[in-house]
Every structure is written in C-alpha cells, then in structure tokens.
Point group: D2
Chain length 385, copies 4
C-alpha cells in the first residue's frame, strides 16, 4: 500500500533523465520507483538525441516524452500535474548540471552515483539542495537491502561493540579482458571525460567505501591507495586496494576490481568490533552472519523475527522468499518518496525514511576518489580524505 | 520493454478477483503482472464484502473497482477497453466458479493453486479452457525461477541422462505451533471447506510435486503416502511423506511439512540421472548445482553465459544481481502475456512462452492430492495417480 | 596422553583379524587405534591366505603375525603380554565366528558393521558378550564425530524439545555404474553370501539408521521400505527409501543409495523437535547447525566454547583446525579403551566412555535390515522392527 | 604402507626437542610423524627443565628421554640405532641453536616456524644445511593439505593463466581480548625476546605469506605494511595489513589478525590469474573452488578423480571422508621422510617429495617479517623484501 497515495491521495510523479530502453540501470530505476506504487513514471528524456528521446519514451510507455532535459524541466514545472521528482541517470559528467537544473525547477532529485565529477561540483550541489529544502538521494542501491540496514542498526546499538576492523571486497570479473566497448570507445564508462578520473573508483569503489560508512556511521580520516590496471592494454584503472584509518585507530581495507577473471559480482563486507563481527555478501543478500565474541555465530534472515524496524520496512515478503537487487533499489525509492511526502505535507520526516543515501554521502564518495588518486600519485602515502 | 506494447500497441489489461490490501499473494500478483510493463491492473474485486471490495480497490489504486465478480465480468466484457485476463486469487473453493465465469465472459485466466477442490472440477475447467481457446495459467510461482527452467532444459537435453531418482523437500516452520488463525477459525487455509481436503498437500505439497514434474517432464504412475499432523491439537494435516514410482523404475520422494520448528522456507529439489545430478534450493534461487558423473560439481548462476534461452529470458539483471520470488512470479506473467498476445494476434505461440504452468498441470496437482489421501487411508498402499 | 598408560602403566594391546595392506578400513582401524597412544597393534591375521597373512603383517609392521585367527587366539591367550582386544575387520559373514572365538579366548572385541548376517547370530553374540563381561564395540565410525555427540547431548537435554521428525540421507555415487568388482565377482561386498542379504542396507543403510538412533536415543517401532536397485544389470540392492514410525508419533525418513551419479559421500541428518532442529553433514563434520524455534539459526563448531563434555573429549585440536574421519574413528577406540581399562582395573566405567556404539546397537542394525526386507517383500507394508 | 620400511627395512627414527605433554603443536608433530608409519618417535627432550624433561618423556611414551638437547645429540649420534632426524619445536629464539646443533650431530631437521629470529641466523642455517647435505623442513603445516597442493599444481600448469592478484586472509579471534598469558607473562608467544619482533607477523602472518608463495611459486619484490595492535593495553602486534608487488605487476594483499572478536581460524586464499581464479579456505580444507574465466565455477574435492599426483599422494581416504589439520601435517612428514630415505639410500629424490616447505622458505619468511616492520616504521613506504 503506497504511503504517498494514502497521505497525499495520489502517487508521486517521477521524471527520468537518461536510462533508455537498452540501459540496465534505467530499467532498474523505473521498476524500482513503481514497485510499491509510490511513484508513477510520467515524464522522461531517454536519450541525448532528441529524436530517439521521443521514440524511446513512447516505446517504454512513459506518457510525456521530451526531447531534452530543458524542455522537460520547463514544461513540467508549469503543469499542475507536473513531476515531483527527477531521476538523473545520465553519464556521470552531466549529473551535476541536470541535478542543479532540476533543483532550480523545483524538483526533488534522485541522482546516480558517482554524484559528480569534481568535489567542487558535489559541494555546490549539496549547498544548493540545502537551500532549496528539497530531498536528494544518491543511488547507492546496495544500502537498500534489508540486511545491510540490519547491520547498520546492530552497529549503532552496540551489538558488536566499538568498531575495530572494516573490510569490503568488490571483486568483479566482467572486465577481465579488454572489451569491445573500450576498444571502440562506445562504452562511456571507459571514457574519463564522461565517467570521471578513475573507472574503478567511481564505478564500484565508491559502493564499497559508502557501504562501510553506511553500516558503521564512521568516516575515515586517512587513506592509502594502490590504484592501477592489471589488464594489458587497458588505459583506465581496473584495480584498487585501499587502506583506511579512522579516528579511533580502527583500520579499514578495500579490495575492488572488475578484472578478476572468473569473478562474478563479489561485493560484501566484514566488520569486526570489540564484541563481535558482521559478514554480508551481496550475492546472498537475505542473510547477515553475526559472529559474537563469546557465542556461536548465527544467521539473521530477512523477514525473520526481531529485526530492526529499518530492516523490517525494507522487507516485503515473508522469510525465505528471496528479494533481490531490484527490491533493494525500490527501498531507496520508498524512503525517498516517504521523505518527499512529508516534505510536501509539511510534516517532520519519519526518521526511518532518512536511512536512504544522501547527496552528502555522494560528496564523501567524490572526496574518497580524489584522496585515493592523490595517495596513488604519492606512492601510497597516507592522505587525509 | 513490454512485448505486449510492442506488438499490440498497448499493455494488456488485468482484472483481479481476491487479494486485498492485506493479502501476501495479492500484492505479489499485482507487482508481478506489472513488473515488466506487460499488464496494467485496471479492474478488481478485492473482497467478498461488496463495500470493502470498493474501498480496497481505491486504496490499492485499481481504477475500476467492482463489488462482485459478477459485476466485473458483466461490465468488463462489454467495455472496449475491458480486461484481457482475470487473476483468480480467492480461497481455493471458489477458484472453479470464478475461473469458469471468467472463461465464459471471454477472458484468459490466471488461477492460484490448488486449481480446484475436486478432480471433477479440474477436468471440467480444463475441458472448458480448451473449448474457449483461451490461455490459462496456474500460479506455481516457483517454476518462474530462471534456474528451475535451466534445470528443466538440462534434463530435456539429456545432460544428466535418464532420470533415476527425484527428491523434493518443502520443510517450513511457520506452523510449528498452533496458531491464532486456526484456533479462532479466521485463517481459511485451515478450513477444509474453503481450502480443500488436506492443508499440507494443497498448500505446499503440490508445489513440490509439480516442481519435480516441471523439471523432468515425467509424471509418476503410482504413489505411497504418509499424511498426518505432528502438532498436538491440530485438526488438519501438517506433514506428508510421499514416495513416487515412475514408468522407467525411477523413484521419487517428497518430504513436506509446515511444522518443522526452526525451519524457514525449505523448498528444493535433488534429481539424479544416469549421468549426473541437479540440486536447487529456493532460498538461493540464482544457483543451480550440477553434479556430473565423471567431473567435478559446478555451479550455474542466473545471468551467466551459456544458459538455455528459457533461463535467459527469465533473467532480467546481470549475473550476481539477485532476483527473487517476485521476479519468478513475474516470469509467469511474462509468458502468460506473451501467449495472450500471440492468441489475440492470431500468431502461433512462441514455444518458450509455453513453459508457464498450465491448467493441465493444475489438474495433475489435484489428482496427486486425492491419490495421496487414498494411499494414506489404505495404510500407505501404492495407489495409481 | 594415553589414559591406558596413565592408569595401567602400559598401552593396551590390539590384535586385528582382517584388513590387509590394501584395505581401506584396515588402515583406518590401525591408525585410529594408535592415534592417541591407547593401543599398540601387536598381533594380526591380515589375510585369509596363511602365507599372505604372515607377509602382510611383516609389511605393515605388526610384530606378531599369525597365519590364522585360531593360531592368534591360541597363542595370544597364553602370552603374558597377549592382546587385550581383537578387531574383527573381515567380510561380514565371518564377524560372528571370529567375535565368538575372541570372546571365548578372553578378549574384548571391536567388530565391523554390520555385526552379523542373521539376527539370531547377533542376539547370540550379545548374550555371550554379556556373559563374559567383556567390552564390545561395533564400528559405526560416524558416531565418533564430536558434533554428532554434541547433537546427541542436545537432544538428551531437551534443547530441541520432543522429537517429531528424523531424516537421514546417505546418497553416494560410487556405484552409479556397474563396477569391475561386481562383474568379475572380486568385490565381496557384492556377494550376498559374504556380505549379507542386502548391499545397500548392510553397507551404508545401517549407518543412517544407527545415526538417528544414536542421536535421539529413540528406537522406531515400525518401518515401511522400498528397497531395489536402479542400475540396470545389477543384482544387488543399491537404493532404499525407508519410513520410520516411533512410539510418540514421530516420523523418520531415510534416503540411502550408492548409485547417485555425481554424488560424493552424502551422509547427514536433519532432526526436528517441538522446539527446534539440528542439521549435520558428514562432509563438513566440524559444524552442527542448530535451528531454534524462536531465534536465528546458529552454528556450533568443534572446539568451540560451551560444548557438552562428550563433544569436548572427542575434539583434540583447537577450534578451526579440522578433524576428519580418521579422528572420528579414533574416538571410538578412545572410548573403547577407556572402558577396557576400567574393566581391567575393576573400576566402574566412566559414563562418557560408554557413548561408543555397542553390540546391542549392532543387533538393532541387523533387525532393521530384516524388517526392511520383509516390508519390501510385502509391497511396502508397515513392519514391526 | 611406509615407504621407509619398504626401502630401508625399518622405520625412520625421530627425536623431538620441545613439545611437552601440554603442547598443542608437540602432540601434532608426534601424531603426524607416526600416522603412516614412516617415523617412530624414539628420543626426546620435552622440557627445558631437566627433571621435567625426563618425566614428560616417560609420560608420553618416548623410549629414550634426555635431560637436555646436548645430551640427546651426544648420545643419539653415537648409537647404532640413533635418531635419523630431529624435530625442533621449542620457542622461536632457540630454533637456530638447536637446528645448528642437530645438523652438526649429523641429523636431518624438522623446524617449527618462524625459522629463526634474525635473517642472519636464517641464512647461516640454510648455508649450513646445504653444506651438510641433510634434509630440512620448516613446518608450514597448511601446505600439506591436498587441495593446497592441487592449487599449486594448477597454477604451475597454467590453468588460471598468468597470476594477477593474490590475497590471503588469516583472521583469527582468539586474542580479541587481553589474555591471562600476556598479562602474567606466561605465554612465550607474547614475549618478543622468545618469539621475535612481531607476534602477528611471526605467529601467523608468515603462514599467509608462505601460502601465497607456495601456491604460485612467485616471490614478491616489494611490500607495504600496516602493522599495529587493535586491542587496548596490548604491547605486541595483533594486526597487519600487507600489500605485495610482484615482478609481473601482479598485486598481493594480506589481512592477518588474531584480534577479530568472533573470528574462528580464518585462513584462506583467493588467487586470480588471467584465465581464472582459485579459492581455498582452511576450515573446509577438502575443497578447492575453481573459477574459470569462461565457464561456471567448479569445486574440486580431495580424493576426486583427475587431481594432480601431488594432491593424490597427500590424500589417504576416499572422496567425501574428511581429512584434517593433523593429516596435512602428516603429509609434511611423509615427504620429509621420503626425502630422507632417498638421501640415506643415495637415490635421487622423488620430485613429488620435494613439495615440502624448506629452510629456504623459512628464510624468506624471516625476510618478509623484517621488510614489513621496516615499511611500518616508514609510514607504509614500499620496501624491497
């Protein structure tokens, strides 16, 4: 049952920029936004080519196709039934412009990660968001999994004690060999001008980094980085190893690559505190392994009894009925929608809805990328983030 | 991209009977039908109470709420934009009537399992469906998982040789103790008049039974059954053990219960042929373990290379991005929609779309239930199915 | 530190009948008996061929080789430093004779399973053992695993409540095809005269059956059996499915085969009581999964804190250091030795040492085999065990 | 069947220095050396206290107890039936002296790790060993597991292509809190004078480091290290993170700690080459996961078909029968014995026997420790090993 419909008497209306019929992440956004009936996708610009943009909107079944973001913003901001929020799903180097324009036009924003190309852009975007008072979400989709939220709740409540060691792997295999898309230039992810200064850091490294921050609420103060590529002939980074140092002497480690031949998805984290550990693997997302200091390890399962409300609200099916990546993503939209509804209604926001990843998180992600590159350039020296 | 929209120029229109705002399976049907844009849910009767039916439709956001199935069938069959198909999600004892009425009104039908209460009803329903030439799906949702389809394709192509042993567990724990719903009579699943003669056989036993048939294409000729309850004070069956015999001397076994204290969902199958085995567990649905006779066991993953087209079309996200129960269910609707579109268009059906479970499968499920009860009543004697 | 040496001032002395240089189980017995220094293997008859028996003893390094069991019994019973115990590791049809002779000669006996060929022999052997007051162990080696003992202790203490469902798989693959040894008659396991009336029941079925009894302390009152072979051209049984009924209405199930193409070892059990479940798999023997009714599942590990003394005494290395099949077998010898030492010393036995499987268990195993065959012959009828 | 007995006509004779009745590793060495009948333990000095040394030898059942290593070396070197080899199991700071004395007395040496305290000692010991022509093994016991050897064979044969990424975790939990042994000074591992300059590097870090070298045959050229402690009040290191760089641009990573609250044993490795990956976890030692670039992941199992001879000779039980830590350790002794027998007989050594870890490996381990400490002292700077 949609909270938007219940409280506002209508679905929220979403406009999408980017994410055409062939786009993986475009389909995810649309299906996630509508899964629980919070949003209807009513407007869109699905290609940077004006003609294809209109055709694609029709094909995908979006009622109001536009030929450009500018056209969408102008028209929708004047309609009574105009969109409430914009999802920016374009190549990375246009996130900043479209997000700023969307805010200027009065819309809430859902922005793909990495937030922007430069730190300066990120900070400016955050400042603007705060001025407008709108809601802004950065699509770190993995934080929508119920058991990631359960992990966060358990750390916050002290179940595993003071955090001592944080580790995240993101060891993919899909770039274990040179790909057509990087050889012929058709894959914008491989083009630093569109994707930003480091493929591996921006594409998936920020996910690992954010996940550790999201779960522990801790921001590291320093990092040391080894960022390189391991596939011969590749010009962009496909490997990074990062060490993190926290204020309380805790240590963090990341191993992130897309070039692990035979690897699948490979995202997960292991976090040890003074009283125990937590282990989560994205490929079995419904499970969270808890390792107490003085008791046997136990397995929490999505939908089980006694989970934190933030995990419960992110789980929609009974225990043992798997929910996946799409459902995790939908949870970001659920919280984002809840926040928007409260914003529109003038209510103070439901605290649980604020667990979605924010533009501020996005700024931290960009700072992480640049700190890692500085460290790499200085032979792995410890850099302040 | 919706095949319906591409070919018909519009989404298919679905009407739902049953599955109100509190219903687990009701929400699943609606979200599954719309996930890939094949169907819009445009009409519904969401309660047997006329007043609540109208309120519920409004609440859930279904445009055309009706106070009774009869009203819906009459009105929708006369509208130009009337529904194409009806989903029957009511208590078991009304499946037959509503399905027959839906067919009579000219609609395709999606029917929850078990198909009917009696074998006679099932056979009559199947006969009527064939006469009308409409499409009919029975919601054995677990067959929508990509790796279940992969298993079926591998058996069909002989990868594991002639089938010798088939085993399925469905060992749940949610009825390990007496529940409020059975003590106060509010849970219709516990009422044989509404649910049929055996809770355990009808509620989940048919899933295990159908899964083995679906994967192997084999129908057993005889069974021996032990059907009982193991929780003191319960009046309905919560446990069954079934042995199956096949024409080729293969042996099958089912262990199905809802009363395993500490059990979670517990559905899976293990099938051995002369050349190897296949193992699948619903709680890790993206994986299929293959055990060849003369080589190491290997793990196929949803989204991986080299899978059968029937598995590929049921997988919508890249390898390592989990898809769950909702997505499996959506695959039934995808195939059902594809069949309907071909039916409307007068095309011969896409063979891959015909992998969805049919009314004929539903009839076999009812036959299984009665054969098991006969065997139980005869002290476990072997009964012809 | 050997308890025998500590208390008696010397190692116990073991004589072995059977188990020559090529024998799998012969090597296991010798290595298990000596692992913790309880026994020295000082005498043996390692072949039924007198010449080869002497050569083999020399080859294996057994000080006193004999040409026949009779010669061994006569000589050893008259030596001051004669053996304390005899291990009977010969083909099944000679277990009875050699065990009776060993008892008559004044020795304790360790006997391979199945105990005997006929029930009558088993009962006679048990009677004789009791008359002599000697110690007798039947080599159900899997009961020596620490976590099997932990499971037994947990059932006994009521952790999972009254037992409701018992299940054991033993699904091996090594006879998935006809083997040279059965075609040329060289494998005595395939010869009913030497091995007994049913390969599958005697060879591994008794292990599954005994394991359930060992862990729960419950003996079933009735069984129904389907015993057959599934490999074309085979003359002995390679498959059985068994249902068990217990006095308290609990239900048991066995699925046992050696003909699962691609299967490995495949022994394990799942037991549910009114308050939770236990799952153990022999291929990961150091772990016991506990599924409480109202709490998350947890994993007990060998060597961890808080285990029952019977599990602790069977674990010799720190947590996380795997112990295997050989160590499990050695635990039988440890307990057997402890019992013998108390017997020799005239002390009342250490209760924990009495967890080893006894001749009485062996008799129950034979009764199980014959009850299963009677049921099979009567079309699966329920038979009293 | 013992190769020593077959070829020499007798068992090899082992003398042990250190490893008294309470010692974990002492019991392992004795049980490993004798498991397959290669060695008899015939002499020993089991305590640095002369009186206790004699008592302990008697208690453990070692025929010739000595009051000091000097006494043992003198006496055994003059006996006709004197020991062939010495196992040095004393605290780390005496490994050098006793090993040098053992070599001087004409014995082969089995030395616990870490080999010595200083690099200089290690190099001197290696030089002396070569001069004497004796066999020397360093007890990196984890290399004795069959599937570790299989991994090495697969890397050598190019199955996973040129090595690109190497990772090893060794994340234990037994020092997650301050222990009695470090507070009262009774645990020599916590005393740098006896244990060497870094607890974590010497105690378990060298295992991870050696395992990567053993499997890949690659020695890194540089490392960067973060070595510290994370438990408040501890004076020795309990955490290290290490990055490795190899000549071919491959990258390595270690995460090693004994202070992971809730951690168990936690040793394993993941290695990716250009054509695939290998994953092994010590707590499930019988399995090796292989991840090919273009095919599904498969699981090799100890005892399965088609393994490399070096893995086969290290596996003594049929597939599915677990073998553990003790058996792995015994494989070092088996190879060491084989080498000694060839050495005594004047035969060229069996190449497969030379897979045991050598004194040269031990020297590399010491070099690793000191390079890591230099890097730590220089703020994580890359250091040549």
């Amino acid at each position: 049952m949609s909270r938007a419909i219940q409280q506002l008497g209508r679905r929220l209306r979403l406009g999408v920029i980017g994410g055409g019929p062939e786009s993986f992440i475009g389909a995810i956004h649309q299906s996630a936004a509508t899964m629980h009936g919070e949003f209807g996708v009513v407007a869109g610009v699905l290609s940077s080519d004006p003609g294809r943009a209109l055709t694609a909107a029709k094909l995908v079944g979006i009622p109001r196709g536009y030929s450009s973001p500018r056209a969408l913003f102008e028209s929708e901001s004047q309609r009574q039934d105009g969109v409430d929020a914009i999802a920016v799903i374009t190549p990375n180097n246009s996130h900043y412009d479209y997000s700023m324009q969307a805010l200027a036009a009065g819309f809430h924003v859902m922005i793909e990660k990495p937030l922007t190309i430069t730190e300066k852009e990120g900070i400016e975007l955050l400042r603007t968001l705060r001025q407008t008072g709108k809601c802004g979400c950065v699509a770190y989709g993995y934080t929508g999994y119920p058991m990631v939220r359960q992990a966060r709740a358990m750390v916050a409540s002290g179940v595993i004690g003071e955090i001592k060691m944080l580790q995240s792997n993101y060891v993919q295999g899909h770039l274990a060999e040179l790909t057509a898309g990087e050889l012929d230039g058709s894959n914008w992810h491989m083009n630093p001008e569109q994707a930003g200064p480091s493929l591996i850091l921006g594409d998936i490294g920020t996910h690992s980094y954010h996940l550790l921050s999201f779960v522990t609420g801790m921001t590291p103060v320093q990092l040391s980085a080894d960022v390189t590529n391991i596939v011969a002939g590749r010009t962009v980074d496909d490997y990074c190893a990062i060490w993190l140092r926290y204020g309380n002497r805790a240590r963090g480690q990341l191993w992130v690559t897309q070039a692990a031949a035979g690897g699948v998805h490979g995202l997960g984290f292991t976090i040890y505190g003074a009283k125990g550990g937590l282990v989560w693997q994205q490929e079995q997302p419904d499970e969270l392994l808890v390792r107490p200091l003085d008791a046997p390890a136990y397995m929490l399962k999505k939908g089980g009894k006694g989970l934190h409300p933030a995990a419960e609200r992110a789980s929609h099916l009974a225990i043992g009925h798997p929910e996946g990546y799409r459902e995790a993503f939908a949870n970001l939209y659920l919280d984002f929608a809840s926040h928007i509804v409260d914003n529109i209604s003038g209510n103070s926001p439901d605290p649980l809805s604020l667990w979605y990843p924010t533009v501020s998180d996005g700024v931290e992600g960009i700072a992480f990328i640049y700190a890692a590159l500085r460290s790499r350039d200085n032979g792995g020296q410890w850099e302040t983030i």
